[in-house]
Subunit: 125 residues, 2 copies
DNA sequence: TATTTTATATGTTCGAAACATATATCAGTC
DNA sequence: GACTGATATATGTTTCGAACATATAAAATA
């Protein structure tokens, strides 16, 4: 049993759910990136506190590529370690639209629940 | 590989994250309940579509009880199958307050991300 | 009597984040 | 020239907790 980082209690950590995939698709919608660039941009989206996990990024990229939602090419134009440049595909853009819809539902449901919570907590104080 | 129920695509199902525990604590805040009652009330909170999973409910109740957040007593006053009546404890109420805080952060972050998503999607249409 | 509803409980699988480790190139510095 | 740290990519393993499946039994109802 670990500590819930937000609750500071003995209960489980609060894990996020499906944030890596939509985050990466969003960043690639703005412009093509390589993995390391995505890693440094991810924390600014507000889902994590510390630095992003390379494992999450590169594995998700491979998954997305296998699904045809992003495409990659080795970038050898620059000196230094070889970079793989990822681009979002048309299918990826459509997919991000679906994500936007389902995330919005999630957000609405969560908002309704929080409202109920607030009322309940306020009532019993 | 299964179908994402919302996306209708080949990608993974979108699983929820930590909704059972706060939901149950909330319902017990309103009034003491037994497990079966909670099961039928859960779908109304908007996190699931179909009926609630008994496994999720009873296991969470046991977990919460072990953590001292709820207390239970066998209810033999009524005829019929024996029911275990669950009550939220003072610690449970405090805990629900923490949940409210962290869920609100989640909601705010998600809202900000969705806004960015909308802009990106609108821009590239 | 047979089926459904009420009621509780455990066993197993699975998705995806979290955590850990490995490898190689290049830039700067001591 | 050796050492350190940033850049860059990749895989291995653990963990959490929802999702799915199954088991049991008493009572209500058809």
């Amino acid at each position: 049993m670990h500590k819930h980082p937000a609750h500071g209690c003995g209960c489980y950590k609060e894990r996020q759910s499906r944030w890596v995939e939509p985050s990466i698709l969003f960043l690639l919608m703005e412009k093509p990136c390589h993995g390391y660039e995505l890693m440094s941009a991810l924390p600014e989206l507000g889902f994590i506190n510390g630095p992003a996990d390379p494992g999450a990024v590169y594995r998700t990229l491979r998954h997305l590529e296998k699904a045809g939602l992003v495409a990659s090419a080795w970038d050898t134009s620059h000196p230094g370690a070889a970079k793989r440049l990822y681009t979002i595909t048309a299918a990826g853009k459509r997919h991000l639209g679906l994500w936007a819809e389902s995330l919005r539902r999630r957000w609405t449901n969560l908002g309704a629940f929080i409202k109920k919570l607030d009322q309940a907590v306020a009532q019993k104080t």
